[in-house]
Structure formats: structure tokens, C-alpha cells
Amino acid sequence: MQEGFVRVWSFFLMAFLFAWNVAAQDGMEMRYLVRQGSVALGVNPLTASARKAFYEARGFTATAIRPYAEACGFSFGMQNATDRTIRTALSDWHAVDADGARITLTLPEAWDAQWDKAGMPSAARIAFKWAQFQTSNVFEPGDWIMGMATLKSVPKAPFRLVARYQDNKGDHELVLDKLECAYD
């Protein structure tokens, strides 16, 4: 029964992400979207139940994945339609909540250290690693990358997300306002 529930939720998360993907290629129609010239960042908040289902279907125990699933988390999708290479470092991204508090993101390596400690299977850890928005990314012209990420604490809504990237012209900021975490 529980396995069936997990599979159904996992399917809905996949369908959601897939639908997003189609929208992304056809113009990045996201719940939250910012464009700066030909660089676009889309953000979709993800609920705890959807993430639990997705990762439990890939070998995580409910106990192990709970802190990740219950963190304020998103699916990011970033596209480089410029003719330049751009780079991102997740450690440069942060949220600013309604009280002005600055909240950084938990890097995938920090989560992986927890999975290692909890003895999660290798296949589950590989799936987790590559389902995340990577700690550092390089976007060649035409590349687009999607992945999940979490904030270190739950911000007071609405909050702002500041996402930095670099190219040969210097540093740039993408700013998304009025974001909220997703709740079940």
C-alpha cells in the first residue's frame, strides 16, 4: 500500500518536472521566472511529500530523507541562450526573507555527507547527487541545466532569491521576488 503511494507520488513529481521541462524549452514558463538578456532562471517550489516519494522510490529510507524533504526546496532550471560561457556557484546564491535575514543554500555535498553517515545505498546517493542543481555549473551556449536545491532554513515569506552567475563580462545577479516555499 505504502509502496503504491510512493510510486504514485513519484510519478506525479516526474510528470510535474517533465511538464516543466517542456515549458522550459518552449519559453521557460515557470511558476517563478526571471530573464536577464538571454539567461533565464526558473524556480518551482517542491512539496515535502513529492520529494519524499521521489527519493524513497530511489532507495532512501523515510527517516533519512525527511530532513531534506522538509527543508524549503525547489527545482531550478537555468538556461544559457547567449553566445558566451557562463558559470554558477551555488554558494553564491542566497535568499533574503521578509525580515531581511540572509539564508544560504545547503550544498549537495553537505547532504551527501549525511547519506554516507546514514548508510544510504550507493544507487540512491548517485540518483540524489545528479538530481540536484550542482554546486558549480558551467553553461556553454545553448546549455540548460535543471536540478533541485534546498535552503538552510525556512525563510519568512515572501522572500527574495538572489542567483549569481559569471561570464566574460563580469558578475551578474538574477533576482526573483515574492517567492514562497511549497507546503503539502
Binding site: L17, F18, S122, A123, A127, W130, A131, V138, G142
Partner: protein, 141 residues
């Protein structure tokens, strides 16, 4: 797809398919080979996967080949999604090959030239039978 300026030699690719048969990039020397790193849980990978079969059919065997490298999954999970393909699907269960190829995210695709060198790379989903990519492949033959 973006050209790799240095055109370095392709790293070794030697993995088993679902029947435990070894598939090796070296056996395709003289062909242009499209290498696609993917997983069934990756939405853009699923979307682009059918285009691997379509682009494969546009060329003669022996001049252009496709190898799909599944990362971290087992043959049952892959078969339920991909079914029977007319190109090899191999399994990088521990993601070591993915590491050796310096893959930064899924999906990632490389075009290996006839001399076994990395010529082009794309991160994120593509439609491989798009005329722009087909023309790139034609120019490499």
C-alpha cells in the same frame, strides 16, 4: 552542441549492456559516435531519449553510432522505460565512467569524431534529429 576547443581524446568507455555484453567505444573507431549520459528519473533525459533512435536511423551503421550510458540504475528500471532500442544501452552503475568523462549534469551528450576525439558537448536536453545537430554529424563523417 558546443565544440570542444582542444578536441581531446575521448576517455575510455567500456561498460556492460543489459545482457552483460561488453560495449566499448574503441570498437567504433572510424565512426562518429554520439554518447548520451542519462537516467530514467531525469525528465529532460526521458524527453530527448526517443530522438536518439530517430537520429541513429538517419545514418548508415558503421558511419554513425549511438551509445546511451545509463547512470546508477539497473536493467529492469531502464527496460521498463526504454524497451528494446536499436542502439546499445550500457550501465554505469557506480558512475565512475561519468566521472572519467567529466560529466557535470544529466543529460550530457558528446559527439566523438572518427579519430576517437571529443568534438562537441551538450549539457541539458536536446532533440538529436534537429537539423542543426544532424548537419554537425554530417560534417564530421
Amino acid at each position: 552542441m558546443s565544440p570542444l576547443a582542444a578536441v581531446p581524446p575521448a576517455p575510455t568507455l567500456r561498460l556492460k549492456d543489459a545482457d552483460d555484453k561488453i560495449v566499448e567505444l574503441a570498437q567504433y573507431k572510424g565512426c562518429v559516435v554520439l554518447i548520451n549520459f542519462w537516467a530514467t528519473w531525469c525528465p529532460p533525459c526521458r524527453k530527448e531519449f526517443p530522438s536518439l533512435g530517430r537520429v541513429r536511423k538517419l545514418f548508415k551503421p558503421g558511419e554513425f553510432e549511438v551509445i546511451a550510458v545509463n547512470v546508477g540504475e539497473d536493467p529492469d528500471a531502464v527496460f521498463s522505460f526504454a524497451g528494446i532500442t536499436d542502439f546499445p544501452v550500457v550501465f554505469d552503475r557506480d558512475s565512475k565512467t561519468m566521472g572519467a568523462w567529466s560529466v557535470r549534469g544529466l543529460p550530457t551528450t558528446f559527439l566523438v569524431d572518427r579519430q576517437g576525439r571529443l568534438a562537441y558537448r551538450a549539457t541539458g536536453g536536446r532533440e538529436f534529429d534537429d537539423p542543426e545537430i544532424v548537419n554537425l554529424i554530417k560534417a564530421m563523417l
